[in-house]
Amino acid sequence: MLLLTCPNCGNRNVSEFRFGGELSSRPKDPSALSSTEWANYLYMRNNVMDAQTEWWHHNAGCGLWFLAERHTRTNEVIKTYPYAKRNA
């Protein structure tokens, strides 16, 4: 079973976490978007077979939503970090 490192709690079985999908950000001003742009935000995904930055929630633990970089072909977790440190 995959191990994930919760930034608060450390290494845990992936069964303690909920997957939250690839990282995407809600547009700052949705009213400025065309309906196509809005549909792209809602539905379109990169869905890479490569390193992917994605959301995880430690739902059986501390409740933290954090980011992981994981290779989607091997499931190798490259790193995990809090959302606040995403640009670090």
């Binding site: 997957f19 809602l42 539905y43 995904r45 869905n47 890479v48 077979m49 994605e54 072909r73 091997t74």
Partner: protein, 394 residues
Amino acid sequence: MWRSHELKKRYDVVIIGGGAHGLACAYYLAEEHGITDVAILEKSYIGAGGSGRNTAIVRSNYLTPEGVRFYDESVKLYEQLSDDLNFNVMFSQRGHLTLAHTDGGVNTMRRRAEVNQIEGVDSRLIWPDEIKRLCPYLDVSDHPRYPILAALYHPPGGIIRHDAVVWGYAHQADVRGAHIHQNTEVTGIKVKKGKVTGVETTRGRIKTGTVLNATAGWASTITTMVDIKLPLTTIPLQACVTEPLKPFLDVVVVSGSLHVYISQTDRGELVMGASVDPFSSYSMAGSLTFLEGIAGHVLELFPALSNVRILRQWAGICEMPPDYSPIMGFTPVNGFLIDVGWGTYGFKASPIAGKTLAELIATDKTPDLIAPFRLSRFEENDLVGEKGAASVGH
């Protein structure tokens, strides 16, 4: 059954993906439209992807009229497929039961049964007495956690030999002149002025004006070559099989609440699968969590099976669209067509997907049957309501 060929410099049509969909499309292109200058490019062996990894259930008892009509046509094609392909695909219409464990579940099954009947598909709601008659090994007692309240019974549903479908289509496509290229991976797609002009592969370049992406599971990795994003997330779907047992389970049994579907093959093995994995991945490694979960759920339904042994587990990958319906047809790139978004319901659509896409390629028009599944539905805010069933989709 099929021959090896040198890669030609150009083909009229290039189909990426040597699964049941791509091969069916090649067959119908030749059989119904006389288009035979077709290459099927498969990065591995034919049927290596979802076509050879699914649990081979065929049914048409969907929730939306669009879905029902589409899959009903597929079932009809499957019914005559052995004859058409001169290859016994062993379609076994043993009947298909979808169990309901809650009042809400019963209502959803009734909703499906009614839609099915109105669309002319044999499907009805049945109660525990009849369930027990059809499937004596099911525990229909007053179970505390997942009582079996009713089931959607779909007599034409059943199982098939999935590899045979792949091989049968491959053989007949080959006979009609299509070139099946195994171990040939697409590395790039050439687009000029918004139109496809060629494909680059690990074995060389091909000129073509028409490319069909039939690589469900990996569709995003191909489509990104023409700078198109798709509304897809690729997630593993796992299955397992037991040692052979004397026949005792005639029907296919599905429980959405328990995320399990189970059938017994003609060889006596129980084949079972669950819902998709809890996180996205292209990995086909399989997990112990899946085995533990499915074993528990199967024993909820069939307590007599606790001594039955699992022989093998495997995984395939599925790409899930937001509305649990496929995405078929034209894209913003001229000549680049898609047959993607097949989630967990792709294999059962192979004949009709191949047939309708062949028609689309030959006529340059979208057949009515697949118009609801066009890519543009997402920006048109016209999604298909199949997600409304909100139950495991097998």
